[in-house]
């Protein structure tokens, strides 16, 4: 009876995925303990975030994909409305309008879009599967551009980029022709000057700073310089857990959140970094396998896009910390401190688990 109940409880969880997630979250807690100057409070609070996020993941994993499909449009519309709400009534924090007050708490609708976007586009392509034309891609592009535009307006370049990426992955996996892809790439390159002109000063500064961080060592370049120093001084084997000087002497900014990877790299070195990359890669691999084995187009596109989006989060964060990408305020998924990102990522994996564990029940 109890074992049956237990089996039912875990029936829709994916073992390999769960193991990999647990491993990464464990790494996250270990690094957080160091990054927070051994604050157990912070670690406990992060564990609470994880418990909540895992709970949500479990719930989502138990929702069959067909139900998710039905939810796609309402969630997307809700997300869009909330984004509009932010644009009109949002709170300003650090010069950006990203938060919306809802009752006692405040939410960041752009975070919701990270799930809503692939969900919506996967639903859209699934619906028009049989009669897919170019115009459908155009509509899909519109569905993508409107919320991204709103998020860019906040302004939140990082999230806008990530959501564009997740949407783009759906388009890409849905079979957008290579010719169009090449055309888009060209168009993107051509529009760069225009894009430059609409960027905010601080966004431009970040890009300029990436090209030469030493130009502004105490301003925008400071983050990149200090995080690169942290990584570089870690060397092949690292300085050892709790022994990173960049971390513990306060040189590293935002070291529990966006720059936690620098702490990891300083203390565990190249070896640690490569192992972490491997862990991420295996997790992504598992996600792609789930996508490859998914039963219908909706599930496939959704699983593939979520997995590739997850890869993008990790890549952008580590690229930013190691100084090959501009500083865009993207946390390292599963490792950075913070509940919102944890929830988003684990809900994504909940969807993957749902897709995987419900695949035999799906009729084609």
């Amino acid at each position: 009876m109890i074992s049956r109940l237990a089996r039912r409880l875990v029936a829709h969880l994916d073992g390999p995925l769960l193991t990999l997630l647990a491993a990464l979250m464990a790494v996250g807690l270990v690094v957080l303990y160091s990054a927070s100057n051994q604050s157990l409070d912070k670690v406990t609070s992060q564990m609470m975030n994880m418990v909540v996020a895992l709970g949500l993941m479990w719930i989502v994993a138990n929702v069959p994909p067909q139900h998710l499909k039905r939810l796609a449009v309402p969630i997307y519309v809700a997300g869009l409305l909330l984004l509009l709400g932010v644009a009109l009534f949002g709170d300003i924090s650090h010069g950006a309008r990203r938060w919306l007050h809802v009752g006692v708490t405040r939410i960041q609708p752009s975070e919701l879009m990270k799930i809503a976007m692939p969900l919506m586009l996967a639903w859209y392509f699934d619906r028009h599967e049989a009669t897919l034309r170019l115009k459908h891609y155009a509509v899909a592009a519109l569905l993508l551009i409107v919320p991204v535009g709103l998020i860019l307006k906040q302004p939140d370049l990082g999230t806008a980029m990530l959501i564009s990426a997740s949407g783009f992955y759906v388009l890409f996996l849905a079979g957008l022709s290579w010719r169009i892809l090449a055309g888009l790439a060209l168009a993107f390159a051509a529009s760069l000057p225009v894009l430059w002109s609409v960027l905010h000063d601080y966004q431009r500064q970040r890009i300029l700073t990436l090209l030469d961080p030493s130009q502004d060592p105490l301003g925008a370049g400071y983050h990149t310089i200090q995080s690169t120093i942290a990584l570089g001084s870690g060397g092949a084997l690292g300085k050892g857990w709790l022994k990173g000087t960049q971390t513990h002497l306060d040189f590293l900014p935002e070291r529990t959140t966006d720059f936690i990877f620098a702490v990891f790299g300083e203390e565990f070195g190249l070896l640690g970094n490569l192992l972490l990359l491997l862990l991420f890669l295996v997790l992504i691999g598992r996600g792609l396998v789930i996508a490859a084995n998914a039963r219908d187009l909706f599930s496939r596109l959704l699983a593939g896009a979520i997995t590739l989006a997850f890869f993008t989060y990790a890549f952008v964060n580590m690229g930013m910390v190691s100084g090959i990408l501009p500083v865009v305020g993207v946390p390292l998924p599963l490792v950075s401190y913070g509940g919102t990102s944890m929830v988003t990522v684990l809900v994504g994996f909940g969807i993957l688990m749902s897709i995987h564990t419900h695949r035999k029940l799906v009729k084609t």
Binding site: L173, G175, G235, F251, G304
Partner: protein, 635 residues
């Protein structure tokens, strides 16, 4: 069929999808490989570079400024010392709004208009990232008030600093000098020297006086502390420490009480007095009046005080003993007499009849004696006692410029004495070469005549006069004057003594010396030009009065003191040593616009001698009142 086609279509789609998925996976692997290679580059190839940067981030070298050495007089009385006090310092480069910050601070601690002006001046002179004091000497209440509110003032700090203090006030300002904040010129000098590292952390440097000339000894060796700092620059812990080595103490020959006595003896007169121990060259007293309060300069003088000192007609900032060049006047005569005797141009018994003037053969120009009508018959002894000009006109003419120059320069005239102070001027003992170089003119016989009585081109500093007098007292051995007797290494207790250093050793015939010296003793006895100053002395004083003209008097005019504006009056001079038979002190006094050497300069000397030789404090605080005596000792 339809079903199969659909299935086939389905499978084709799945295939397409999987191809796309593989492309995506490949992209992910490629991007991760890019990251991995970036990690490899940063963490392995560039590791040393970044490790250094991290170390530099982490460790800052904090210099520990050593205690500056003390300056003590011969009896151990402190002339310059340090005390610890709190200052409120601002680092302007860290502030956005300096004025607002100062206003804010003013609500917590008192900041006067003077403080503000001084701060502005420091700000103009400062280099970029320095912290500058806005208020010095905070009391504990003020320290507490600021500390509580400190968070409101980033870039403002309380610092415990050692301050230099000169307890003796104006009397010693010209000898001790002062330290001041290092300015750009100092910085340049320091950076060129090999001492640059030793000045990391020092804000002060000796600017003048002994503080300047013994800077190397006084400064000490800067210690270092390797401190681990966080990103805010706050020290977290000390990793290593090299203790600073305190500067060496200076112990002077100078007697500060003697100095005070001498300083007070000047009353309101301007002038200089240098007293030397003949056997060693040690400087016993060194006055330049007026002085100034050296303490004003230590942390940047405020503009009002600076203007007052700099613009005063009394020129208190000029060290008259060291840098004031005056005609030696009749104080030159004993040296001329020695030259005449030693070079065989005069015998003790050689007597002239003085008509009150001297004429060169074949010239009608009269070189006048100060006494109209002349002194009658004058031998060498009398020429000194009554200071007969005519005698020396003739002697100078007989000696000629070369003899005068060669002989008298051995008493230290016309060249720097080499005292351990910077900025000394050489005075001037004219020679044919000098005149040719300076004026492109040959030497005229008339030039020699004025040189003979210490006028003409002749210029000497009071220090030079004292050195020459000391040489005479010391039987012809000229010792280099020296202020510092001992340098004391505070750490090891090792003492470095300055041994007397002879500049010249003249071999003078004892009978000649005896004659000149006894004539000089007679100067301070009844009938001499300084009889009044020498009255009732308990020891024999050898002296010589002198007068240095400030303005030229026409041939036909008579100099009448009361008719001449105060600043155009003659300078009064007096040289002396005592006890004459075994001199322990030799000195030169110059009183600017003092008139007669015998009436203004000699009494000052007497007070100094009395105090030094007898320990007697001057009972009368003022100078001799009756400046008009029956026999005006003009010279």
């Amino acid at each position: 069929m339809k079903h199969r086609a659909e299935l086939k279509n389905e499978q084709r789609e799945l295939h397409y999808f999987r191809v796309r998925l593989v492309v995506g996976a490949a992209f992910a692997v490629l991007m991760f490989a890019l990251l991995a290679s970036r990690f490899f580059y940063v963490q392995v190839l560039q590791h040393d570079h970044y490790r250094t940067l991290a170390e530099n981030n982490r460790i800052s070298i904090v210099p520990i400024v050593p205690n500056r050495g003390l300056i003590l007089d011969r009896n151990g009385v402190v002339l310059a010392h340090n005390y610890s006090a709190y200052t409120l310092e601002i680092t302007p480069s860290k502030l956005d709004d300096l004025d607002a910050t100062i206003e804010g601070l003013a609500t917590l601690v008192e900041i006067t208009a003077k403080d503000r002006k001084r701060f502005r001046k420091l700000l103009e002179e400062s280099h970029n990232f320095e912290s500058l004091p806005i208020r010095t000497r905070l009391n504990e209440y003020e320290v507490a008030r600021f500390s509580v509110n400190r968070y409101r003032f980033p870039g403002v700090d309380i610092k415990a600093r050692l301050f230099r203090h000169y307890p003796q006030g104006e009397a010693l300002s010209h000898v001790i000098g002062y330290i001041g904040r290092i300015n750009d010129a100092d910085l340049e000098r320091i950076e060129e020297s090999e001492d640059a590292a030793n000045y990391r952390g020092s804000d002060h440097i000796g600017k003048i006086g002994l503080e300047q000339s013994y800077e190397k000894e006084l400064h000490g060796i800067t210690g270092l502390e390797q401190v681990e700092t966080d990103a805010g620059g706050r020290a977290v812990r000390t990793l290593a420490r090299t203790a600073p080595v305190s500067g060496n103490n200076l112990r002077l020959y100078l007697d500060s009480r003697l100095q005070q006595v001498a300083e007070e003896a000047f009353g309101n007169y301007r002038g200089a007095l240098v007293a030397i121990e003949p056997k060693t060259g040690g400087v016993l007293a060194f006055i330049s009046k007026p002085g100034f309060d050296a303490n004003l300069f230590v942390d940047g003088i405020d503009p009002a005080n600076w203007a007052a000192l700099n613009n005063s007609p009394d020129k208190p900032l000029i060290n008259r003993g060291l840098r004031g060049a005056y005609p030696p006047g009749s104080t030159f005569k004993p040296f001329m007499a020695m030259a005449g005797l030693e070079l065989g141009k005069r015998t003790p018994s050689y007597t002239i009849h003085d008509p009150g003037y001297f004429m060169l053969p074949g010239s009608s120009h009269r070189y006048r004696d100060w006494k109209v009508g002349g002194h009658g018959s004058v031998d060498l002894r009398r020429s000194i006692v009554i200071s007969c000009d005519t005698y020396y006109y003739g002697l100078a003419n007989d000696l000629g410029p070369d003899n005068i120059y060669n002989f008298i320069s051995q008493f230290g005239f016309g060249r720097k004495t080499g005292i351990d102070l910077d900025g000394e001027v050489p005075g001037l003992l004219p020679s044919r070469e000098w005149k040719m170089k300076r004026y492109k003119q040959k030497w005229y016989a008339g030039d020699t005549i004025s040189v003979g009585i210490g006028q003409g081109y002749n210029l000497a500093t009071p220090l030079q006069l004292a050195v020459a007098t000391s040489a005479l007292a010391n039987n012809g051995v000229t010792n280099r004057p020296q202020l510092v007797r001992t340098i004391e290494d505070v750490r090891t207790g090792a003492l470095k003594n300055f041994l007397p250093e002879s500049l010249f050793r003249l071999t003078l015939k004892p009978e000649n010396l005896e004659l000149v010296k006894s004539a000089m003793v007679d100067v301070t006895r009844p009938g001499g030009t300084a009889a009044q100053a020498g009255m009732n002395a308990l020891y024999p004083i050898a002296g010589k009065t002198g007068t240095a003209q400030v303005i030229a008097i026409k041939q036909t005019e008579k100099y009448v003191e009361s008719r001449v504006a105060e600043r155009h009056r003659d300078h009064a001079l007096f040289i002396a040593f005592a006890p004459a038979d075994d001199p322990r002190i030799a000195l030169a006094v110059l009183v600017e616009n003092g008139g007669h050497g015998g009436t203004t300069a000699a009494p000052i000397a007497r007070k100094v001698l009395d105090f030094y030789l007898l320990g007697k404090l001057p009972d009368a605080p003022t100078l001799v009142q009756d400046s008009v005596t029956e026999e005006p000792d003009h010279d």
